[in-house]
Amino acid sequence: MSIDTLSHLELSSPAVVSQAAHDFAAVLAATEPFTALEAASERLRQDAAAQHAMQAYQAKQQSLQAVLMLNALSAGEQAELEHFRETFLAEPSVTAYLQAEAGLRTMCQAAADRLSEHVGLNFASACSSGCC
């Protein structure tokens, strides 16, 4: 393909791309992994025990923030923090949420891989912030 061929190509108009993006989002939002994550997210929000465990874990993290930043946790502090983390992760609604999120991630990765094949650039890496 040379620069001369650009004028002969039928380029996608912004409206066509926008419509395709809207259709893609609508189909994705109707899939089982997406609705499962929404439901799991709502259950987690309504789960008082899970919310309590999350707050306790966050409070412990905050209380240890200074030593965490210095990477200077004692073995006892490390064990205590891990206990709060495991208690939080053991809540059934948290486990269900993480499973649902993993399911949606797998599907989004498969879709993004296909998009990347078309555009010749890594769609997910291009679009996500906070890269290494």
Binding site: D23, R105, A111, R114, V119, A124, A126, C127
Partner: protein, 126 residues
């Protein structure tokens, strides 16, 4: 494997979006610039030389053997690469295409209420 993960509706919607993106002007311009780059012996030789020099300097750095001459040579090569019009065009169109993909992702993510690109990112891939 991918087809087992994606429903037929998802495959259709993803293919339609992929084709639309492939023919969007920023992406087409990026591919044209890439083809021009790959067809330019001077540009490809410069990039190869820069890559080899960077690797050599890194190796010498780990041994503590980098000299001011090494760094001067590397900087001169970097300036040459940056001023090559074919490479500049490639870099500019690549940035424009990436920015365009981010815009499309933003549109998708707004509709979903969650960041599609972040969900799609594989751990450790940069």
């Amino acid at each position: 494997m991918e087809d087992l993960i994606l429903t037929p509706d998802m495959v259709t919607a993803t293919e339609s979006l992929g084709v639309a993106l492939r023919l969007a002007e920023p992406v087409v311009l990026y591919h044209l610039a890439r083809e021009t780059l790959e067809a330019s012996p001077e540009a490809t030789a410069l990039l190869k030389c820069l890559s080899e020099t960077q690797a050599a300097v890194r190796t010498r750095q780990t041994r503590g053997e980098v000299t001011p001459e090494d760094m001067a040579r590397l900087r001169a090569l970097q300036r040459k690469v940056q001023s090559n019009p074919v490479i500049r065009q490639y870099a500019q169109t690549q940035q424009a295409a990436l920015g365009y993909l981010r815009e499309v992702n933003r549109e998708i993510s707004e509709l979903l209420g969650m960041d599609f690109g972040a969900l799609a990112k594989k751990p450790g891939c940069c």
